[in-house]
Protein backbone atom coordinates (compact mmCIF):
# COMPACT_ATOMS: atom_id res chain seq x y z
CA UNK A 1 0.00 0.00 0.00
CA UNK A 2 2.52 2.55 1.21
CA UNK A 3 6.23 2.11 0.84
CA UNK A 4 8.98 4.41 2.02
CA UNK A 5 12.47 3.80 0.64
CA UNK A 6 15.59 5.21 2.24
CA UNK A 7 14.02 8.58 3.01
CA UNK A 8 16.30 11.44 4.08
CA UNK A 9 15.55 14.98 5.15
CA UNK A 10 18.08 17.53 6.22
CA UNK A 11 17.22 20.96 7.58
CA UNK A 12 20.50 22.82 7.18
CA UNK A 13 23.00 20.67 9.05
CA UNK A 14 20.38 18.79 11.03
CA UNK A 15 19.32 15.37 9.78
CA UNK A 16 15.67 15.17 10.84
CA UNK A 17 15.07 11.90 9.03
CA UNK A 18 17.92 9.73 7.79
CA UNK A 19 17.49 6.54 5.82
CA UNK A 20 14.02 5.50 6.89
CA UNK A 21 12.47 2.59 5.00
CA UNK A 22 9.32 0.65 5.76
CA UNK A 23 6.35 -0.98 4.11
CA UNK A 24 2.77 -0.68 5.16
CA UNK A 25 0.45 -3.45 4.00
CA UNK A 26 -3.14 -2.72 3.09
CA UNK A 27 -5.54 -2.85 6.01
CA UNK A 28 -2.92 -2.87 8.76
CA UNK A 29 -2.59 -0.52 11.67
CA UNK A 30 0.91 0.66 12.28
CA UNK A 31 2.25 3.01 14.93
CA UNK A 32 5.41 5.05 14.79
CA UNK A 33 6.80 5.78 18.22
CA UNK A 34 9.83 7.62 19.42
CA UNK A 35 10.81 10.43 21.76
CA UNK A 36 10.09 14.08 20.98
CA UNK A 37 12.22 15.29 18.11
CA UNK A 38 12.72 11.78 16.75
CA UNK A 39 11.40 12.92 13.36
CA UNK A 40 7.87 11.52 13.46
CA UNK A 41 6.10 14.65 12.24
CA UNK A 42 8.77 15.28 9.62
CA UNK A 43 8.30 11.75 8.35
CA UNK A 44 4.57 12.41 8.02
CA UNK A 45 5.21 15.68 6.25
CA UNK A 46 7.54 13.91 3.82
CA UNK A 47 4.92 11.29 3.01
CA UNK A 48 2.11 13.82 2.50
CA UNK A 49 4.13 16.22 0.39
CA UNK A 50 4.28 19.10 2.89
CA UNK A 51 8.05 18.79 2.98
CA UNK A 52 10.19 17.62 0.08
CA UNK A 53 12.71 14.90 0.92
CA UNK A 54 16.43 15.45 0.43
CA UNK A 55 16.70 11.90 -0.88
CA UNK A 56 14.63 8.73 -1.06
CA UNK A 57 11.30 7.69 -2.47
CA UNK A 58 7.71 7.40 -1.35
CA UNK A 59 5.46 4.93 -3.19
CA UNK A 60 1.72 4.70 -2.90
CA UNK A 61 0.25 1.48 -4.30
CA UNK A 62 3.41 1.06 -6.35
CA UNK A 63 3.27 4.54 -7.80
CA UNK A 64 5.93 7.09 -6.94
CA UNK A 65 4.55 10.17 -5.21
CA UNK A 66 7.82 11.68 -3.95
CA UNK A 67 7.68 15.46 -4.17
CA UNK A 68 4.08 15.66 -5.39
CA UNK A 69 2.13 18.58 -3.90
CA UNK A 70 -0.13 17.81 -0.89
CA UNK A 71 -3.41 18.40 -2.73
CA UNK A 72 -2.48 15.74 -5.29
CA UNK A 73 -1.42 13.24 -2.65
CA UNK A 74 -4.72 13.84 -0.87
CA UNK A 75 -6.58 13.15 -4.11
CA UNK A 76 -4.73 9.83 -4.45
CA UNK A 77 -6.42 8.59 -1.29
CA UNK A 78 -4.19 9.68 1.56
CA UNK A 79 -5.87 11.43 4.47
CA UNK A 80 -4.12 12.97 7.41
CA UNK A 81 -4.61 14.82 10.64
CA UNK A 82 -2.10 17.18 12.16
CA UNK A 83 -0.45 17.20 15.55
CA UNK A 84 -1.27 20.82 16.20
CA UNK A 85 -5.03 20.99 15.78
CA UNK A 86 -5.63 22.18 12.30
CA UNK A 87 -9.23 23.04 11.47
CA UNK A 88 -11.21 25.93 9.99
CA UNK A 89 -12.05 27.87 13.18
CA UNK A 90 -14.59 30.38 11.84
CA UNK A 91 -16.70 27.83 9.99
CA UNK A 92 -19.33 25.66 11.62
CA UNK A 93 -18.50 22.03 12.28
CA UNK A 94 -20.86 21.10 9.48
CA UNK A 95 -19.18 23.47 7.03
CA UNK A 96 -15.69 22.24 7.92
CA UNK A 97 -16.51 18.64 7.13
CA UNK A 98 -18.80 19.46 4.21
CA UNK A 99 -16.03 21.51 2.60
CA UNK A 100 -13.82 18.44 2.57
CA UNK A 101 -16.66 16.35 1.14
CA UNK A 102 -17.22 18.95 -1.61
CA UNK A 103 -13.52 19.04 -2.42
CA UNK A 104 -13.37 15.27 -2.52
CA UNK A 105 -16.20 15.14 -5.05
CA UNK A 106 -14.48 17.71 -7.23
CA UNK A 107 -17.21 20.27 -6.68
CA UNK A 108 -14.78 23.04 -5.76
CA UNK A 109 -14.88 24.47 -9.27
CA UNK A 110 -18.62 24.88 -9.24
CA UNK A 111 -19.40 28.54 -8.66
CA UNK A 112 -23.09 28.46 -9.35
CA UNK A 113 -24.80 25.87 -7.15
CA UNK A 114 -25.58 26.60 -3.52
CA UNK A 115 -22.95 24.94 -1.37
CA UNK A 116 -25.16 24.51 1.68
CA UNK A 117 -27.57 22.24 -0.23
CA UNK A 118 -24.94 19.75 -1.39
CA UNK A 119 -23.92 16.44 0.22
CA UNK A 120 -25.92 17.17 3.36
CA UNK A 121 -26.66 13.53 4.08
CA UNK A 122 -23.09 12.30 3.69
CA UNK A 123 -21.84 15.11 5.91
CA UNK A 124 -24.48 14.50 8.57
CA UNK A 125 -23.79 10.76 8.55
CA UNK A 126 -20.08 11.37 9.01
CA UNK A 127 -20.71 13.82 11.85
CA UNK A 128 -23.04 11.31 13.51
CA UNK A 129 -20.44 8.55 13.34
CA UNK A 130 -17.97 10.87 15.07
CA UNK A 131 -20.49 11.86 17.72
CA UNK A 132 -20.54 15.44 16.54
CA UNK A 133 -24.14 15.58 15.26
CA UNK A 134 -25.37 17.84 18.06
CA UNK A 135 -22.51 20.28 17.49
CA UNK A 136 -23.00 20.59 13.72
CA UNK A 137 -23.94 24.27 13.86
CA UNK A 138 -21.35 25.43 16.40
CA UNK A 139 -18.30 27.33 15.26
CA UNK A 140 -15.44 24.86 15.10
CA UNK A 141 -13.03 27.24 16.81
CA UNK A 142 -15.26 27.60 19.87
CA UNK A 143 -15.39 23.92 20.77
CA UNK A 144 -13.25 21.98 23.21
CA UNK A 145 -9.85 20.63 22.25
CA UNK A 146 -11.20 17.08 22.17
CA UNK A 147 -14.04 18.08 19.83
CA UNK A 148 -11.60 19.89 17.57
CA UNK A 149 -9.52 16.73 17.30
CA UNK A 150 -12.71 14.90 16.28
CA UNK A 151 -13.41 17.55 13.65
CA UNK A 152 -9.90 17.05 12.30
CA UNK A 153 -10.60 13.36 12.02
CA UNK A 154 -13.89 14.18 10.28
CA UNK A 155 -12.15 16.44 7.78
CA UNK A 156 -9.58 13.72 7.08
CA UNK A 157 -12.26 11.03 6.67
CA UNK A 158 -14.41 13.23 4.42
CA UNK A 159 -11.97 12.66 1.54
CA UNK A 160 -12.76 8.95 1.88
CA UNK A 161 -9.09 7.99 2.10
CA UNK A 162 -7.67 4.50 1.66
CA UNK A 163 -4.83 5.25 4.00
CA UNK A 164 -5.02 7.55 6.98
CA UNK A 165 -2.08 9.20 8.71
CA UNK A 166 -2.83 10.49 12.19
CA UNK A 167 -0.20 12.60 13.90
CA UNK A 168 -0.76 12.27 17.65
CA UNK A 169 -4.55 11.95 17.43
CA UNK A 170 -4.93 12.12 21.22
CA UNK A 171 -2.39 14.85 21.99
CA UNK A 172 -3.58 17.03 24.86
CA UNK A 173 -6.55 14.84 25.73
CA UNK A 174 -7.55 13.59 29.14
CA UNK A 175 -7.21 9.85 29.62
CA UNK A 176 -10.98 9.40 29.30
CA UNK A 177 -11.05 11.31 26.03
CA UNK A 178 -8.02 9.38 24.82
CA UNK A 179 -9.74 6.06 25.31
CA UNK A 180 -12.92 7.25 23.60
CA UNK A 181 -10.99 8.63 20.66
CA UNK A 182 -8.92 5.50 20.23
CA UNK A 183 -12.01 3.31 20.37
CA UNK A 184 -13.57 5.58 17.74
CA UNK A 185 -10.54 5.42 15.48
CA UNK A 186 -10.28 1.65 15.79
CA UNK A 187 -13.98 1.25 14.98
CA UNK A 188 -13.86 3.55 11.94
CA UNK A 189 -10.67 1.91 10.65
CA UNK A 190 -12.32 -1.50 10.90
CA UNK A 191 -15.58 -0.33 9.28
CA UNK A 192 -13.88 1.29 6.35
CA UNK A 193 -11.02 -1.18 5.99
CA UNK A 194 -8.58 1.69 6.41
CA UNK A 195 -4.85 1.37 6.40
CA UNK A 196 -3.73 3.38 9.39
CA UNK A 197 -0.39 4.91 10.23
CA UNK A 198 -0.22 6.93 13.41
CA UNK A 199 2.17 8.45 15.89
CA UNK A 200 1.36 8.45 19.56
CA UNK A 201 3.11 9.10 22.83
CA UNK A 202 0.76 7.05 24.99
CA UNK A 203 2.26 3.52 25.02
CA UNK A 204 -0.89 1.94 26.33
CA UNK A 205 -2.79 3.24 23.31
CA UNK A 206 -0.10 2.09 20.93
CA UNK A 207 0.05 -1.44 22.27
CA UNK A 208 -3.74 -1.69 22.39
CA UNK A 209 -4.48 -1.04 18.72
CA UNK A 210 -1.32 -1.25 16.61
CA UNK A 211 -0.55 -4.53 14.88
CA UNK A 212 2.84 -3.25 13.90
CA UNK A 213 5.19 -0.78 15.55
CA UNK A 214 8.18 1.11 14.23
CA UNK A 215 10.55 2.91 16.57
CA UNK A 216 12.15 6.11 15.40
CA UNK A 217 15.16 7.52 17.22
CA UNK A 218 17.15 10.57 16.11
CA UNK A 219 15.77 10.30 12.60
CA UNK A 220 16.60 6.63 12.17
CA UNK A 221 14.33 3.62 12.33
CA UNK A 222 15.94 1.47 15.02
CA UNK A 223 13.40 -1.33 15.25
CA UNK A 224 10.24 -2.57 13.68
CA UNK A 225 7.90 -5.45 14.47
CA UNK A 226 4.88 -6.61 16.44
CA UNK A 227 4.09 -5.09 19.84
CA UNK A 228 5.49 -8.17 21.59
CA UNK A 229 8.74 -8.03 19.68
CA UNK A 230 9.08 -4.37 20.53
CA UNK A 231 8.52 -5.00 24.21
CA UNK A 232 11.36 -7.50 24.17
CA UNK A 233 13.80 -5.59 21.97
CA UNK A 234 16.70 -4.45 24.18
CA UNK A 235 17.57 -1.47 21.99
CA UNK A 236 13.99 -0.20 22.10
CA UNK A 237 13.84 -0.68 25.86
CA UNK A 238 17.03 1.29 26.24
CA UNK A 239 16.25 4.35 24.06
CA UNK A 240 12.57 4.62 24.53
CA UNK A 241 10.60 2.41 26.83
CA UNK A 242 13.34 2.63 29.42
CA UNK A 243 13.08 6.39 29.53
CA UNK A 244 9.50 6.22 30.65
CA UNK A 245 9.84 3.87 33.61
Amino acid sequence: MLEVQDLHKRFGGFAAVSGVSFKLEKGTIMAIIGPNGAGKSTLFNLITGHVEPTAGRVLLAGREITGAPPHEICRLGVGRSFQRTNIFPNLTVFECVQAAVLAHHGKGRNFWLRADQLYREQTEALLASLGLADKANSLAGELSHGNQKQIELGIALASDPDILLLDEPTAGMSSGETHETIALIARIAAERGLTLLFTEHDMEVVFSIAAHIAVLHQGRLIAEGTPDEMRRDPEVRRVYLGERS
Binding site: I87, L91, A100, G108, F111, W112, L113, L118
Partner: protein, 319 residues
Amino acid sequence: MSRRPVPWVLVLFLVLLCIPWLGSRLYTFIATDIAILALFALSLNLLLGYTGLVSFGHAAYFGIGAYTTAILMKTYGVPFVVAFPAAGIVAAGFALVFGFFCVRLTKIYFAMLTLAFAQIVWAICFKWNDVTGGEQGMPNVPYPDLGWMSAIPGLGSLRSGDHFYLLVLALVAVAIAALRRIVASPYGRMLSVIRENPERAEFIGINVRLYQLSAFVVAGFFAGLAGGLFGIFNRGVFPDFAYWTKSAEVLIMTILGGMGHFWGPAVGAMVLTLLNQQITSYTEYWPLILGIILIVLLFGFRGGIVGAVVALNRRLRGR
Protein backbone atom coordinates in the same frame (compact mmCIF):
# COMPACT_ATOMS: atom_id res chain seq x y z
CA MET B 1 -43.04 31.78 14.53
CA SER B 2 -42.60 30.89 10.91
CA ARG B 3 -42.72 34.21 9.15
CA ARG B 4 -41.57 34.56 5.62
CA PRO B 5 -38.33 36.54 5.65
CA VAL B 6 -38.69 40.00 4.17
CA PRO B 7 -36.75 40.23 0.89
CA TRP B 8 -34.78 43.23 2.10
CA VAL B 9 -32.46 43.26 -0.87
CA LEU B 10 -35.38 43.55 -3.27
CA VAL B 11 -36.97 46.27 -1.16
CA LEU B 12 -33.70 48.20 -1.14
CA PHE B 13 -33.35 47.83 -4.89
CA LEU B 14 -36.86 49.20 -5.47
CA VAL B 15 -36.21 52.14 -3.14
CA LEU B 16 -32.97 52.94 -4.93
CA LEU B 17 -34.81 52.75 -8.23
CA CYS B 18 -36.99 55.65 -7.12
CA ILE B 19 -34.15 58.08 -6.38
CA PRO B 20 -34.31 59.93 -9.75
CA TRP B 21 -37.89 60.95 -9.00
CA LEU B 22 -36.76 62.88 -5.94
CA GLY B 23 -35.80 65.44 -8.53
CA SER B 24 -32.39 66.31 -7.11
CA ARG B 25 -29.36 66.14 -9.34
CA LEU B 26 -27.17 65.76 -6.26
CA TYR B 27 -29.03 62.72 -4.94
CA THR B 28 -28.76 60.94 -8.26
CA PHE B 29 -25.09 61.87 -8.46
CA ILE B 30 -24.30 60.51 -4.98
CA ALA B 31 -26.37 57.40 -5.51
CA THR B 32 -24.52 56.61 -8.75
CA ASP B 33 -21.19 57.15 -7.03
CA ILE B 34 -22.14 54.86 -4.14
CA ALA B 35 -23.53 52.11 -6.39
CA ILE B 36 -20.30 51.92 -8.40
CA LEU B 37 -18.01 52.08 -5.37
CA ALA B 38 -20.10 49.45 -3.60
CA LEU B 39 -19.40 47.03 -6.45
CA PHE B 40 -15.71 47.96 -6.30
CA ALA B 41 -15.56 47.32 -2.54
CA LEU B 42 -17.51 44.07 -2.83
CA SER B 43 -15.07 42.83 -5.46
CA LEU B 44 -12.16 43.52 -3.10
CA ASN B 45 -13.93 41.63 -0.33
CA LEU B 46 -13.88 38.45 -2.40
CA LEU B 47 -10.12 38.58 -1.77
CA LEU B 48 -10.03 40.17 1.66
CA GLY B 49 -13.03 38.72 3.47
CA TYR B 50 -13.52 35.45 1.64
CA THR B 51 -10.09 34.26 0.50
CA GLY B 52 -8.04 36.01 3.17
CA LEU B 53 -5.77 37.81 0.71
CA VAL B 54 -4.89 41.42 1.51
CA SER B 55 -4.53 43.37 -1.71
CA PHE B 56 -3.02 46.84 -1.49
CA GLY B 57 -3.34 47.33 -5.21
CA HIS B 58 -6.94 46.64 -6.09
CA ALA B 59 -7.30 50.06 -7.75
CA ALA B 60 -5.13 48.76 -10.61
CA TYR B 61 -8.04 46.70 -11.95
CA PHE B 62 -10.51 49.52 -11.34
CA GLY B 63 -8.20 51.83 -13.32
CA ILE B 64 -7.64 49.30 -16.10
CA GLY B 65 -11.39 48.84 -16.44
CA ALA B 66 -11.95 52.59 -16.53
CA TYR B 67 -9.30 53.15 -19.21
CA THR B 68 -10.51 50.20 -21.26
CA THR B 69 -14.07 51.50 -21.49
CA ALA B 70 -12.95 55.09 -21.99
CA ILE B 71 -10.44 54.29 -24.73
CA LEU B 72 -12.85 52.01 -26.54
CA MET B 73 -15.73 54.49 -26.37
CA LYS B 74 -13.86 57.74 -26.93
CA THR B 75 -10.98 56.78 -29.22
CA TYR B 76 -12.62 53.99 -31.18
CA GLY B 77 -16.32 54.84 -30.87
CA VAL B 78 -17.17 51.35 -29.67
CA PRO B 79 -20.71 51.12 -28.22
CA PHE B 80 -21.19 50.71 -24.48
CA VAL B 81 -22.59 47.18 -24.74
CA VAL B 82 -19.15 46.06 -25.90
CA ALA B 83 -16.97 48.54 -24.02
CA PHE B 84 -18.51 47.72 -20.63
CA PRO B 85 -17.91 43.94 -20.54
CA ALA B 86 -14.51 44.61 -22.11
CA ALA B 87 -13.57 46.55 -18.96
CA GLY B 88 -14.11 43.43 -16.87
CA ILE B 89 -12.40 41.10 -19.30
CA VAL B 90 -9.28 43.24 -19.77
CA ALA B 91 -8.99 43.84 -16.02
CA ALA B 92 -9.35 40.09 -15.42
CA GLY B 93 -6.60 39.46 -17.99
CA PHE B 94 -4.21 41.76 -16.17
CA ALA B 95 -5.25 40.22 -12.83
CA LEU B 96 -4.35 36.81 -14.25
CA VAL B 97 -0.84 37.93 -15.21
CA PHE B 98 -0.14 39.95 -12.04
CA GLY B 99 -1.87 37.39 -9.82
CA PHE B 100 0.29 34.60 -11.23
CA PHE B 101 3.25 36.23 -9.49
CA CYS B 102 1.40 37.54 -6.43
CA VAL B 103 0.00 34.18 -5.24
CA ARG B 104 3.53 32.81 -5.11
CA LEU B 105 4.06 35.06 -2.09
CA THR B 106 2.17 35.16 1.18
CA LYS B 107 0.92 37.74 3.64
CA ILE B 108 2.73 41.08 3.62
CA TYR B 109 4.84 40.08 0.62
CA PHE B 110 1.70 39.30 -1.33
CA ALA B 111 0.25 42.68 -0.36
CA MET B 112 3.44 44.51 -1.35
CA LEU B 113 3.56 42.83 -4.73
CA THR B 114 -0.06 43.76 -5.49
CA LEU B 115 0.90 47.33 -4.60
CA ALA B 116 3.97 47.18 -6.86
CA PHE B 117 1.92 46.03 -9.85
CA ALA B 118 -0.69 48.72 -9.17
CA GLN B 119 2.00 51.39 -9.16
CA ILE B 120 3.27 50.09 -12.49
CA VAL B 121 -0.24 50.38 -13.92
CA TRP B 122 -0.47 53.90 -12.54
CA ALA B 123 2.90 54.85 -14.04
CA ILE B 124 1.88 53.56 -17.45
CA CYS B 125 -1.41 55.46 -17.33
CA PHE B 126 0.53 58.53 -16.24
CA LYS B 127 3.17 58.43 -18.97
CA TRP B 128 1.70 56.75 -22.04
CA ASN B 129 0.39 60.01 -23.49
CA ASP B 130 -0.68 58.68 -26.89
CA VAL B 131 -3.08 56.11 -25.50
CA THR B 132 -4.08 57.15 -22.00
CA GLY B 133 -3.72 60.91 -22.31
CA GLY B 134 -0.93 60.79 -19.73
CA GLU B 135 -1.09 63.11 -16.76
CA GLN B 136 -4.09 64.95 -18.18
CA GLY B 137 -6.11 61.75 -18.38
CA MET B 138 -8.95 61.38 -20.85
CA PRO B 139 -11.68 63.96 -20.32
CA ASN B 140 -15.06 63.90 -22.02
CA VAL B 141 -15.67 60.19 -22.12
CA PRO B 142 -19.01 59.99 -23.94
CA TYR B 143 -22.19 58.80 -22.24
CA PRO B 144 -23.62 55.62 -23.64
CA ASP B 145 -26.54 56.20 -25.98
CA LEU B 146 -29.52 55.96 -23.64
CA GLY B 147 -32.09 57.56 -25.94
CA TRP B 148 -34.07 54.33 -25.87
CA MET B 149 -34.79 54.87 -22.21
CA SER B 150 -36.80 58.01 -22.97
CA ALA B 151 -39.13 55.87 -25.04
CA ILE B 152 -40.06 53.85 -21.95
CA PRO B 153 -43.22 55.33 -20.43
CA GLY B 154 -42.46 57.19 -17.22
CA LEU B 155 -38.77 57.67 -17.94
CA GLY B 156 -39.14 60.31 -20.67
CA SER B 157 -39.11 63.22 -18.25
CA LEU B 158 -35.83 62.25 -16.60
CA ARG B 159 -32.43 63.80 -17.27
CA SER B 160 -29.66 61.85 -18.97
CA GLY B 161 -27.83 61.61 -15.62
CA ASP B 162 -30.88 59.86 -14.22
CA HIS B 163 -30.98 57.49 -17.17
CA PHE B 164 -27.34 56.63 -16.61
CA TYR B 165 -28.03 56.08 -12.91
CA LEU B 166 -30.77 53.57 -13.71
CA LEU B 167 -28.41 51.77 -16.07
CA VAL B 168 -25.67 51.70 -13.42
CA LEU B 169 -28.10 50.46 -10.80
CA ALA B 170 -29.30 47.62 -13.01
CA LEU B 171 -25.78 46.55 -14.04
CA VAL B 172 -24.39 46.79 -10.50
CA ALA B 173 -27.35 44.80 -9.19
CA VAL B 174 -26.66 42.00 -11.68
CA ALA B 175 -22.94 42.03 -10.85
CA ILE B 176 -23.60 41.93 -7.11
CA ALA B 177 -26.12 39.12 -7.54
CA ALA B 178 -23.44 37.15 -9.41
CA LEU B 179 -20.89 37.81 -6.66
CA ARG B 180 -23.40 36.76 -4.03
CA ARG B 181 -24.02 33.54 -5.89
CA ILE B 182 -20.29 32.90 -6.21
CA VAL B 183 -19.55 33.27 -2.50
CA ALA B 184 -22.40 30.90 -1.58
CA SER B 185 -21.25 28.25 -4.07
CA PRO B 186 -18.93 25.30 -3.45
CA TYR B 187 -16.20 27.40 -5.05
CA GLY B 188 -16.90 30.14 -2.50
CA ARG B 189 -16.69 27.58 0.29
CA MET B 190 -13.26 26.50 -0.92
CA LEU B 191 -12.16 30.14 -0.75
CA SER B 192 -13.30 30.46 2.87
CA VAL B 193 -11.54 27.23 3.73
CA ILE B 194 -8.35 28.68 2.26
CA ARG B 195 -8.84 31.87 4.28
CA GLU B 196 -9.27 29.86 7.46
CA ASN B 197 -6.32 27.54 7.02
CA PRO B 198 -4.38 27.23 3.75
CA GLU B 199 -2.23 24.35 5.03
CA ARG B 200 -5.24 22.24 5.94
CA ALA B 201 -7.08 23.30 2.77
CA GLU B 202 -4.24 21.86 0.72
CA PHE B 203 -4.83 18.54 2.41
CA ILE B 204 -8.49 18.24 1.60
CA GLY B 205 -7.32 18.20 -2.01
CA ILE B 206 -7.49 21.91 -2.88
CA ASN B 207 -4.81 23.42 -5.08
CA VAL B 208 -4.56 26.52 -2.91
CA ARG B 209 -2.52 28.69 -5.27
CA LEU B 210 -4.76 27.97 -8.21
CA TYR B 211 -7.84 28.91 -6.22
CA GLN B 212 -6.19 32.06 -4.92
CA LEU B 213 -5.26 33.02 -8.46
CA SER B 214 -8.78 32.40 -9.71
CA ALA B 215 -10.22 34.54 -6.88
CA PHE B 216 -7.76 37.27 -7.84
CA VAL B 217 -8.99 37.13 -11.44
CA VAL B 218 -12.68 37.16 -10.47
CA ALA B 219 -12.10 40.09 -8.10
CA GLY B 220 -10.20 41.88 -10.87
CA PHE B 221 -13.07 41.28 -13.28
CA PHE B 222 -15.67 42.90 -11.04
CA ALA B 223 -13.33 45.76 -10.10
CA GLY B 224 -12.85 46.32 -13.84
CA LEU B 225 -16.60 46.51 -14.40
CA ALA B 226 -16.89 49.06 -11.59
CA GLY B 227 -14.05 51.06 -13.13
CA GLY B 228 -15.70 51.01 -16.57
CA LEU B 229 -18.84 52.55 -15.12
CA PHE B 230 -16.93 55.03 -12.99
CA GLY B 231 -15.01 56.49 -15.95
CA ILE B 232 -18.25 57.33 -17.71
CA PHE B 233 -19.90 58.62 -14.54
CA ASN B 234 -16.89 60.80 -13.83
CA ARG B 235 -16.93 62.07 -17.44
CA GLY B 236 -13.26 61.28 -17.72
CA VAL B 237 -10.58 58.85 -16.56
CA PHE B 238 -7.38 59.87 -14.83
CA PRO B 239 -4.24 58.09 -13.60
CA ASP B 240 -5.47 58.66 -10.03
CA PHE B 241 -7.94 55.82 -10.56
CA ALA B 242 -5.09 53.35 -10.29
CA TYR B 243 -3.09 55.23 -7.66
CA TRP B 244 -2.36 53.64 -4.29
CA THR B 245 -4.62 56.09 -2.46
CA LYS B 246 -7.54 54.66 -4.41
CA SER B 247 -6.52 51.16 -3.30
CA ALA B 248 -6.37 52.40 0.29
CA GLU B 249 -9.78 54.03 -0.04
CA VAL B 250 -11.49 50.82 -1.16
CA LEU B 251 -9.66 48.91 1.57
CA ILE B 252 -10.98 51.39 4.15
CA MET B 253 -14.52 51.07 2.78
CA THR B 254 -14.35 47.31 3.08
CA ILE B 255 -13.04 47.32 6.62
CA LEU B 256 -15.36 50.16 7.70
CA GLY B 257 -18.44 48.30 6.50
CA GLY B 258 -17.22 44.94 7.74
CA MET B 259 -15.42 42.31 5.71
CA GLY B 260 -17.02 39.44 7.59
CA HIS B 261 -20.39 40.05 6.00
CA PHE B 262 -21.35 40.01 2.35
CA TRP B 263 -23.00 43.46 2.41
CA GLY B 264 -20.41 45.05 4.69
CA PRO B 265 -18.26 46.60 1.94
CA ALA B 266 -21.34 48.08 0.23
CA VAL B 267 -22.37 49.70 3.51
CA GLY B 268 -18.80 50.92 3.93
CA ALA B 269 -18.85 52.47 0.45
CA MET B 270 -22.08 54.25 1.27
CA VAL B 271 -21.03 55.53 4.69
CA LEU B 272 -17.61 56.68 3.55
CA THR B 273 -19.01 58.49 0.50
CA LEU B 274 -21.76 60.21 2.49
CA LEU B 275 -19.42 61.18 5.31
CA ASN B 276 -16.91 62.53 2.86
CA GLN B 277 -19.66 64.54 1.17
CA GLN B 278 -21.01 65.94 4.46
CA ILE B 279 -17.81 66.55 6.33
CA THR B 280 -15.91 68.21 3.51
CA SER B 281 -18.68 70.81 3.35
CA TYR B 282 -17.95 71.80 6.96
CA THR B 283 -14.24 71.33 7.32
CA GLU B 284 -11.14 70.73 5.27
CA TYR B 285 -9.84 68.25 7.83
CA TRP B 286 -11.57 65.23 6.30
CA PRO B 287 -8.48 63.00 6.58
CA LEU B 288 -8.31 63.82 10.31
CA ILE B 289 -11.94 62.77 10.82
CA LEU B 290 -11.38 59.67 8.73
CA GLY B 291 -8.35 58.76 10.84
CA ILE B 292 -10.37 59.08 14.05
CA ILE B 293 -13.19 56.97 12.63
CA LEU B 294 -10.70 54.28 11.69
CA ILE B 295 -9.10 54.25 15.12
CA VAL B 296 -12.47 53.89 16.86
CA LEU B 297 -13.41 51.16 14.44
CA LEU B 298 -10.24 49.12 14.81
CA PHE B 299 -10.32 49.26 18.61
CA GLY B 300 -14.06 49.04 19.18
CA PHE B 301 -15.71 47.37 16.21
CA ARG B 302 -13.44 44.94 14.45
CA GLY B 303 -16.37 43.56 12.49
CA GLY B 304 -17.08 46.98 10.99
CA ILE B 305 -20.49 48.61 10.89
CA VAL B 306 -22.36 45.54 9.73
CA GLY B 307 -20.50 43.34 12.19
CA ALA B 308 -21.52 45.66 15.05
CA VAL B 309 -25.16 45.75 13.92
CA VAL B 310 -25.31 41.97 13.62
CA ALA B 311 -23.79 41.54 17.10
CA LEU B 312 -26.22 44.06 18.58
CA ASN B 313 -29.16 42.41 16.90
CA ARG B 314 -28.09 39.02 18.23
CA ARG B 315 -27.78 40.40 21.73
CA LEU B 316 -31.24 42.02 21.63
CA ARG B 317 -32.86 38.83 20.42
CA GLY B 318 -30.94 36.70 22.89
CA ARG B 319 -32.45 38.57 25.86
